[in-house]
């Protein structure tokens, strides 16, 4: 096992980790804001990938250039989901937690079924994009360009999210998260904040989907692969923490790759969960959690 192989594997793991982190950031945002676990998060990712695919087919616009467009689309979808489903689920009088779980779970199954109904169960991919299937040979390492671009874009998206958290709106988000009843007293419309929070969370996963669509296969079930890892990432990084999602995503990508390299590849998720359990035992609120 040469250093070169280890470096190559580490690079692949970290690039994948940046995608994991961005997917998890959207989930973390919603969870941190209103204690609702969105079980349809993987399906939002899938919808974003299909949206990118459809726009690419129709206009030939490169997935990377579509980022703002898909983000806006998903923002709208996120707000619609909050207004149409979540707000109603929050207003039920009994067993609210269960109702929320079932609502997002049902939404996941619906989205998957609807996309399969419209597009079929085929695996698709975007071919002929700007960076499609190209690799860079750098210091003896192979750097797949679409993944590299996705990694950089993911970091930019994180920077954007951090900036938003500094704004007036970001402060309102934070305040609503801390005490959703008290903010009403100072004139913050918590329904509006929640809706925007859902929009922002969905837009984040939308960016991840558009990036992923540039080099990954697209199918109605693709979200499930990423959703489970996103839940682990959020718990590992700490609920509601952006920095936590980033660090945990990178950590999971790296641990996964290293487990596959040094132990059995079929055990790579075991490596991830081992780290997860260890962190939960030593620091139950996650690496950067405050709750």
């Amino acid at each position: 096992m040469t250093f070169h192989v280890v470096a190559q594997v580490a690079l692949s793991g970290l690039l994948m980790g940046l995608i994991y982190a961005l997917v998890a950031a959207g989930l973390s945002l919603i969870f941190g804001l209103m204690d609702v676990v969105n079980f349809a998060h993987g399906e939002l990712l899938m919808v974003a990938m299909f949206a990118t695919f459809v726009i690419f087919q129709a206009t030939g616009l490169d997935p990377l250039l579509q980022l703002p467009l898909v983000a806006i689309l998903l923002f709208g979808l996120g707000v619609a989901i909050y207004r149409g489903l979540i707000a109603r689920a929050l207003s039920v009088q009994f067993n609210r937690g269960m109702v929320q779980i079932f609502v997002t779970f049902g939404l996941a199954i619906f989205l998957r079924g609807a996309v399969q109904f419209v597009f079929g169960g085929d695996f698709r991919s975007i071919s002929g994009s700007l960076l499609g299937d190209r690799t860079l040979h750098l210091f003896g390492l192979f750097v797949p360009l679409p993944q590299m671009a996705a990694g950089i874009a993911s970091l930019i998206a994180f920077a954007g999210l951090l900036l938003i958290s500094r704004t007036e709106f970001g402060k309102a988000l934070e305040a609503t998260r801390e005490d959703r009843d008290a903010v009403a007293l100072i004139g913050i419309d918590r329904n509006k904040i929640f809706a925007l929070g859902w929009g922002l969370g969905a837009a984040t996963v939308g960016v991840a989907g558009a990036l992923l669509a540039g080099f990954y296969y697209i199918s109605p079930n693709v979200g499930a692969n990423f959703a489970l890892i996103a839940y682990v990432t959020v718990a590992l990084g700490g609920f509601g923490s952006l920095l936590g999602a980033l660090v945990a995503g990178l950590l999971i990508g790296l641990v996964e790759a290293m487990t596959a390299l040094f132990l059995e590849p079929s055990l790579k998720q075991v490596g991830v969960y081992a780290v997860y359990l260890l962190v939960l035992m030593l620091r139950p609120r996650g690496l950067f959690g405050t709750i």
Binding site: R112, Q116, R124, F142, S219, E256, A260, S266
Partner: protein
Amino acid sequence: MIRLVLLAASALLFAASAAQAADDVLIGAIYPLTGGGSQAGLDAKTALTVEADVINGNHNIPGLLGKGGGLPHMGGAKIKIIFADHQGDPQKARAEAERLITQEHVVAIIGSYQSSTAATISQVTDRYEIPYLSADNSSPTLTRRGLKWIFRTTPHDEMFSEVMFQFIKDMGIKTGHPAKSVSVIYEDTLFGSDSSAVQKKLAEAAGIKVVGDIRYRASSPSLSTEVQRLQAANADVVLPSSYTSDAILMVKGMNDLGYKPGAIIAQDAGFLEPNFLNAVGPLADGVLSRSSFSLDATASRPVIAPLNALYSSLAGRPLSDAAAREIVGLQVLADAIDRAGSTKPEDIRKALIATNIPGDQTLMPWKGIKFDETGQNILGTPVIMQVKDGVYHTVWPDDVATVKPVWNVK
């Protein structure tokens, strides 16, 4: 008077057979209609629907099929297929098999794409004593569990792997560049484990070194590390056993790392799905796979062209290996029920045991269909295909080949 009685009796008989003609023969079909393997399941549904239409209708298709209007020995009874969805989950497959038998009262079950689901279905059918026709499950162990009611028309992975190694040996002789090492890379469910175990045994027997042995988790988000290990092992020939999503990630991962093995010979499944070719495009060129079906063998199998026309008009794509195997599975099952002349499970089972169909009566390039005592078809002889310009061509054995194989082992 006697004549009158005879007349009345024959009228009664006629009435009885007419009444019987109204009774459909119910066959259960369990496939992954939703979930990860759903496209394979939906294709199977189309394939079985096409074949049922051919049997029930009055088509002019040569061979055993479409002799006109249902099953002749059953008073022209029609075949009716009841589809069930196992979502690729063995436990759901078990429950659906039980439901089909106890509530839908099917006389036989056909299935099921993933071998792990066939394992549970065949347990249920053995318990309820109903024939299970395994049309497309290729795990060798399925017919080695002492079950009485499983019949498998498709060759299993061991037979496939034997052909792959015969091909490797033959190419070594023909080109003067024999393969000295292989790597196996396989998904961690029944299909991959069984397939790779046989390949490792056969490699050892052929004096070829196994330098890479990589078991990976099925449908994981990334296979880049796995491909990296493959590259580090640097074998002459790579032998993957993977379903579609993993096959896509593997080939894309090889491209990302600039890795080109001398030959990739796949164990069918994901690598032979039309989906795979669509998703990876030109990256698939040169990939070899064993196959039980060759779409381009129209010269020796006249039923391929009309069946393919029917199938592709519904599915929007040509017959795949899996779809062809599903068609043949239903053909064999319908033929057995017809010969049995009854829907009693024991009669159907006896008829299945007596099955002896020559290959040219089917759409397969096989020698034929004849079951041994375990229920395995012993006349299913596979072929090797290779992707060229985005299309699979038959390249081996020579007598059915349409294109010469490309062999890059140095």
